[in-house]
């Protein structure tokens, strides 16, 4: 059993655990408040296209973000607002992509959750589920060529993605190549409206790992404590060269698939079960119990974050939108090999 930094036992470990927990909690709160803001903007018609929130999944997501180091690779899923922030994304960039600012990382060419900075290891997803896992594999594979060790890649997916061919091929590939991949599966029991009974037949998603020759852990996704420990351990094992790791977290989405979706299909029994706990509340209660923060501090933190978000949104709303007449309509890096079609304006 690999010793992790999260094992309390030594005073040093306890202090670092507290720091990690607080850091993770901050990202969870920021993500929740940012998501709320995006939802409000969508409802008031100020966001064009879809809005996809991560409400209910922040603990798992934050655990990934704080578990990774700068220089690692992260391919987030659509509900990883917390993880993205923890991995280094700014509120400004998230807002820019949602509000269509020309200054955002995707410059209006892609939107909402389809954002990232590939050369910083933060991969912008394509919409096809499961497709990003092999891309993470490729980066890890290339780093091995370049003799870069001590690197880990996390691919974050939902229960639905585990049914895709891409998931299967990529996990198998990672195992064959013994890559330091950590596959985190947020099993929120619904892929859009499809319950897991229609998604897979094995008893526990973690059982799939054995078929690939990969280690897997299960974790209560509503418990930040457990998430930090399990995800942290998986990352450590991968970094130490044990090959791909899989973590399956059980939780519930506390929002629709997108903000357009009222999600009436979710079983009310699940909602009222422990699975339906709000991980943010659970974390806050833990913080208060540990006396790491008091209610006033929590309140102040919340206010500060709301201000930060409002400032960012206000700034982004003043930024220019992409201009189709200034835009370079070119899909190739090699300029001289692009074709001009003047009739289509390029």
């Amino acid at each position: 059993m690999v010793q992790t930094v999260l094992e309390p036992g030594t005073a040093e470990n306890a202090a670092s655990f507290r720091e990690t927990y607080l850091a993770a909690y901050r990202f969870m709160l920021l993500a929740r408040l940012l998501d709320d803001k995006f939802a409000a903007l969508w409802r008031s018609g100020r966001i064009h296209g879809g809005v996809f929130l991560g409400r209910g999944q922040e603990a798992l997501s934050a655990a990934i973000g704080v578990g990774l180091k700068k220089g690692d690779v992260f391919a987030p899923l659509i509900r990883d607002a917390a993880g993205r922030l923890a991995f280094g994304e700014t509120v400004l960039d998230a807002a820019r992509t949602y509000l269509g600012s020309a200054r955002g990382p995707m410059r209006g060419r892609d939107g909402n959750v389809h954002r990232g900075k590939p050369q910083e290891g933060y991969l912008p997803m394509i919409s096809h589920l499961g497709a990003m896992i092999s891309v993470v594999n490729g980066i890890l594979f290339a780093r091995r060529f370049k003799k870069i060790s001590d690197t880990v890649g996390v691919a974050s997916v939902g229960d639905g993605a585990t049914s895709t061919g891409a998931f299967h091929e990529a996990l198998n590939q990672a195992a064959v190549e013994k890559l330091p991949l950590v596959l985190v599966v947020a099993n929120n029991h619904y892929a859009y409206s499809t319950p897991t009974s229609r998604q897979f037949a094995c008893h526990d998603l973690a059982d799939k790992a054995a078929g690939y020759g990969v280690e897997a852990d299960s974790v209560d996704g509503t418990d930040l404590n457990a998430c930090l420990k399990t995800v942290g351990q998986a990352i450590a094992r991968a970094r130490a060269g044990h090959g791909p790791q899989m973590v399956v977290a059980e939780l519930l989405r506390l929002c629709g698939h997108g903000e357009h979706d009222p999600a009436d299909y979710v079983d009310p029994k699940l909602k009222s079960s422990p699975l339906g706990r709000d991980c943010l509340k659970v974390a806050e209660e833990f913080l208060l119990r540990q006396k790491w923060l008091d209610a006033a501090q929590l309140g102040a933190l919340r206010e500060e974050m709301v201000r930060e978000i409002e400032t960012a949104i206000a700034q982004v709303q003043r930024e220019p939108a992409p201009d189709p007449f200034v835009e370079e309509w070119r899909a190739l890096a090699t300029r001289h090999l692009g074709e001009t079609h003047e009739e289509n304006g390029n």
């Binding site: 490729g138 980066i139 198998n172 190739l332 001289h336």
Partner: protein, 326 residues
């Protein structure tokens, strides 16, 4: 490994180009099914795994993951060469090619310098799933470069250039030409990617074509010469981008256009050429432009059917005569 004094086949040229790339650029690696010790199903990577240990790697049968891995490696600055065992199988990795590789630069400004080698085109007895021409579907997507070398020299120099290009390149190597086409030596200089080649100068009509059909067109031109017709043959070399200028200049000289392709009739390279010439060079045409493609069915297995399915030099000559008589 250099063959001096003996003939070099189209396949040898492809192998040589890969060896050259592996030798000169540590960022290059080859990834695909059976490419390692086995040397590839077509022997395109024969001995390369031995000469460059750890750079020529066998993949599982997972075209989607193969392509995704290549994209990731390209993001990280490597220059992967992916060998698809047959072009026909690339459809399993289609999503990663057209949605991941082809959109990366446009969405993020990060280039994707990978090369996908597609052994394509028909050989007798190969049947519907080992004979397809895939250049049309890939050329349609923005963000991809599609190359179709027709000569041993181009197979060599264009593959080298493909690896050097910072964009995803779909390199369509024709299986029939692997062993059938031979040259005396490898070229030291070449037309750049993006320029078409006048394979045969002519006066009375222009045939625009690519890959194996270039040779069928040249045979047809030989058949027509004693009848008093001088047929110009343009080898496109790349179908994305298309060297429209060379095509237009040729039609300006001859006034008559026949496009020939081994792919299916709907859309495709022949339709694209005619669309361009008709809209940009309408006044150059002295007769309606024509095209010849394979029959609109999957590629048949039986040699009788296969030989009738694709354009042959006889069919090309007949179509040419029709056009010349108009």
């Amino acid at each position: 490994m250099k063959k001096t004094g003996t003939e070099i086949s189209y396949l040898d040229a492809i192998r040589e180009a890969q060896a050259h790339a592996l030798r000169d650029d540590p960022r290059v690696f080859i990834y695909g099914q059976d490419v390692g010790a086995f040397g590839g199903a077509h022997k395109a990577t024969k001995n390369l795994a031995k000469e460059f240990p750890g750079r020529v790697l066998d993949s599982p049968i997972s075209e989607d993951a193969i392509m995704g891995l290549a994209v990731g490696a390209a993001i990280e600055g490597m220059r992967p060469i992916v060998e698809m065992q047959f072009a026909d199988f690339s459809t399993v990795g289609f999503n990663q090619i057209v949605n991941q590789a082809a959109t990366l630069f446009w969405r993020t400004s990060v280039p994707c310098p990978l090369t996908v080698r597609l052994p394509f085109g028909g050989t007798s007895g190969s049947g519907p799933f080992h004979s397809q021409c895939m250049e049309t579907v890939y050329a349609h997507y923005p963000g991809l470069i599609v190359l179709t070398p027709a000569t041993v020299e181009d197979a060599y120099s264009m593959l080298l250039e493909a690896v050097a290009i910072d964009d995803p390149v779909i390199f369509c190597e024709h299986k029939f030409l692997y062993y059938h086409l031979k040259a005396e030596k490898l070229p030291s200089e070449a037309l750049p990617v993006g320029k078409a080649r006048i394979a045969r100068e002519g006066r009375d009509m222009t045939i625009v074509t690519y890959s194996a059909m270039v040779h069928e067109a040249l045979e047809a031109a030989k058949e027509l010469a004693p009848e008093g017709w001088e047929v110009e043959v343009v080898d496109l070399r790349s179908v994305k981008p298309i060297d429209t200028d060379t095509v237009m200049a040729s039609v300006a000289r001859t006034g008559r256009l026949l496009c020939v392709g081994e792919a299916w009739p709907w859309g495709g390279v022949t339709a694209e050429i005619i669309a361009r010439v008709t809209s940009e060079g309408y006044g150059l045409l002295d007769a309606p432009p024509q095209r010849l493609n394979a029959k609109d069915t999957p590629v048949p297995y039986h040699p009788n059917l296969w030989m009738a399915h694709r354009p042959t030099h006889h069919a090309i000559a007949a179509a040419a005569r029709n056009l010349l008589r108009q």
